[in-house]
Assembly symmetry: C2
Homo-oligomer: 213 residues x 2
DNA sequence: GTCTATATCTCGATAGAC
DNA sequence: GTCTATCGAGATATAGAC
């Protein structure tokens, strides 16, 4: 994992710890001393590198947000079938969630509209077409060649994102009925990917007029 | 909306405000004075009724958690087709999320395993069979009568929950590209319900051997 | 039950030695 | 760059009048 700018080794460690701490406890719940402890240094050093909590949070937010955006963007590629496009998308987005947890998604609530809009625009400039437009393109092509049904693009996009994200939200509850879930996390994640691809692709697939009620 | 115990009028108002405040800002981010302000009373009164922040939070958690559990439980009913079972489930669960936001779901992360397990068991006693077992029953019946495919129950359950929940997580982002989203929230929610039911049911439906690749 | 005033505490932030 | 010590803001919590 790389930070957004060039970080010294210590700085990088602090930044990583900050990502974890914010992800675990939210903006307000995060504790500067917890970040310091995790790295094995003093609070003052965290302030030395990142000035204050607000700036540190913003830097973490920017990093995660652009990572998220770029991941989703890159995950939508050309492929001969929409099934393959979907497979790659679910695969890469889930891997992203595995690395950073569902927090990058949940963070979006914590920013005021203006900041969000600004950051959104800035990243869009860097990556060209937004993820949604890209996804729309692939879906519409698949509809045209008769592979899938003509469903609302936004809704479908939300469905995929939701199915992927939910595993990581529900994991603590999953662990209740299956205490060893944490051990088999990798396996569970791979199973989940397959299920999502199967269920969604089947839901989208065009089965011809006589099969559509 | 009813509180878990018998509340006096004022107590109930404070409790409601607390739900909102915790939902908006998380456990640590919530402010006692914000709750008091919202009700139009003094901080001291909040303490008078609920002793301290920790207890208040736990009471809110318990209330939301059992509401969630009971909603999901009641939403899974007998119906001649699985499509109807699914429709009712998506409808009721989404309404629950509309009322309380995605927070009840996210709160599950904030409790330690032991408390969670205890609360889980307690509610299970009250409601009899857990939601998952109920859902399993309905799905297996539908598989037997050839209505739907034989997919993993847990996975399918997660898929539905995820698709429903995500709208409320993504809403702040939705509002970015569509500033009037907040105004049409009701409409958007109803559209989303329809999409979810359509996509999932189509994904589950058994199309006969020759249509299964 | 409800308020004002205040005590107590937690945590972010800074000063200053090394 | 890194630490110790400490300040000060802001929040929770309590005491005590009404």
């Amino acid at each position: 994992m790389q930070g957004p700018k060039e970080y010294s080794e210590k700085e990088e460690k602090i930044f990583r710890a900050a990502i974890e701490e914010f992800a675990e406890n939210g903006k307000q719940g995060a504790r500067m001393h917890a970040i310091a402890d995790h790295v094995g240094c003093n609070k003052a050093l965290v302030h030395y590198y990142f000035r204050n909590k607000e700036r540190l949070y913003e830097e973490v937010f920017d990093f995660l947000f652009s990572r998220f955006f770029i991941t989703v963007h890159n995950a939508i590629t050309d492929a001969p079938t929409f099934e393959e496009t979907l497979t790659r998308f679910v695969d890469e987005f889930t891997d992203f969630l595995e690395e950073f947890g569902p927090y990058p998604i949940l963070m979006l609530k914590e920013m005021d509209m203006d900041s969000k809009k600004k950051r959104f625009e800035r990243i869009k400039e860097q990556t060209g077409m937004g993820p949604m437009s890209l996804f729309r393109e692939k879906m519409e092509q698949a509809v045209e060649r008769g592979e899938i049904r003509d469903l609302d693009v936004r809704q479908t996009f939300m469905s995929i994102m939701g199915e992927c994200t939910y595993l990581f939200i529900a994991f603590p509850v999953l662990s209740l009925s299956n205490p060893e879930a944490a051990k088999h996390k990798k396996e569970i994640i791979e199973e989940r990917k397959q299920h999502i691809i199967d269920l969604i692709y089947n839901g989208l697939k065009n089965k011809g007029l006589n099969n559509r009620q």
